[in-house]
Symmetry: C2
């Protein structure tokens, strides 16, 4: 067996596709949006790119994703999961292996965290939010990466509760359905949607109702006790900790 040692010219970076569901003015349907960072140096100077940065020796991949995302955008996601490791030789002039994560965040949290980021005096002028449909040509292979993240989100919304990442602790079934519709890009029957989420038993009804227009709608919350094996043996540590303290 030949023993080899890695050369230092391979660097490890992390990037994050962080999505939110925002309701544009004069549009009733919310749509997916994500922040991009304007590159201020080569390679790809002047192009938009995913927020990210280099992996530090003393932090895990997920920690690095959360840190670099926060440093560049001020955001702290409500959901964070590894997407894929991209390592083609020619994806960057120097050799970079990028571990990409995807994340979700409520739009009101985006607003609050962005405001706090601006108030802290850091430079936000390099960050801009784009509608996920109709992106410009991005730096590196980031268009392909975002396509893959959106595909994963569309897939996963069917067998997990990732939509939770877009919603406040309590929400109406119409809120949940709107999130599903925006993710899947198609309208869903309200009656059938209600029965499907009810039989899945992942939701708990509360005694509260949202009033303000027409018939009040019951508020629901997610049942944290429901086991869902959407990540298999790679259980997120957060869940484990939550269970321990219960």
């Amino acid at each position: 067996m030949v023993t080899r040692t890695s050369e230092p010219e391979i660097r490890v970076a992390v990037s994050t596709v962080i999505l939110t569901l925002r309701r544009a003015r004069d549009v009733d349907q919310p749509s997916l949006a994500l922040p991009l960072v304007l590159r201020t140096r080569d390679p790809h100077q002047g192009d938009w790119a995913l927020p990210g940065g280099w992996l530090e020796p003393d932090e895990s991949l997920e920690d690095a994703a959360a840190r670099t995302l926060h440093e560049t955008t001020g955001l702290s996601p409500s959901y964070l999961e590894q997407l894929y490791a991209f390592g083609a030789v020619d994806r960057s002039p120097s050799r970079v292996v990028s571990i990409v994560y995807w994340a979700l965040l409520r739009s009101d949290e985006v607003d609050a965290q962005s405001a706090a980021h601006v108030a802290s005096g850091l430079a936000p002028e390099n960050v801009q939010w784009f509608d996920a449909a109709g992106l410009p040509s991005l730096a590196f292979d980031h268009n392909q990466i975002i396509d893959y993240a959106l595909w994963r989100l569309r897939n996963k919304v069917g067998y997990s509760r990732v939509a939770h990442g877009f919603l406040p602790p309590t929400f109406t079934l119409a809120d949940l359905r709107e999130a599903y519709e925006a993710i899947l890009g198609k309208r869903l029957d309200p009656a059938n949607f209600r029965r499907q989420v009810e039989t899945s038993a992942a939701l708990l009804p509360t005694d509260e109702f949202r009033t303000g227009s027409h018939r009040p709608a019951r508020l629901y919350r997610y049942d944290d006790d429901v086991e869902l094996a959407d990540r298999g043996p790679l259980a997120p540590e957060k869940d484990v900790k939550e269970k321990r303290t219960r």
Copy 2:
């Protein structure tokens, strides 16, 4: 924005969980097995570990997985897909980010390639095949990694044709069903299984039959023209090339 540069102490490794379906003596049901390599140095000297090695600067992640797998075991898989990037700080004494792949290979190819590997004079005594059920305690986090690979295989067999990786070009429906049964760990109704794969339209019947015992069984082959979006926008390059030359 703070600019950081990665320190050279982070190294990138690749490992591969390569599975085969082998029929043990005196057992009618085939079972999943995988090769492990005995570690000859610290850390974890004397423990069994996944085949792998360091990423070289001029090769892609997938190329590195195929190369290190071949160097350590002599095997060339029929199916190869990225599994996950593992990067916990404490998973190794030095900082190593491991990009792990999972792969499939027919047992007769395993035998042929292993024999060729031995004949070429390389050291095979460090490699041993283990039944996927009932592994010993392995080096690093490799037990967890294998659990995740098996989970992915069980999931993916339902909506893709990964089972193809265990089968020769033509095969009977009983062959295919045996592969599914071994992967899923449960018996399947032959009648219903037949109808499911027939309606999925991923199989083409041939004019040949396998004889030798009882009623001859028709041989089928996979229909390469069937599109399956099991990897989303990350289409393997092999498929693209095949389409171009068609």
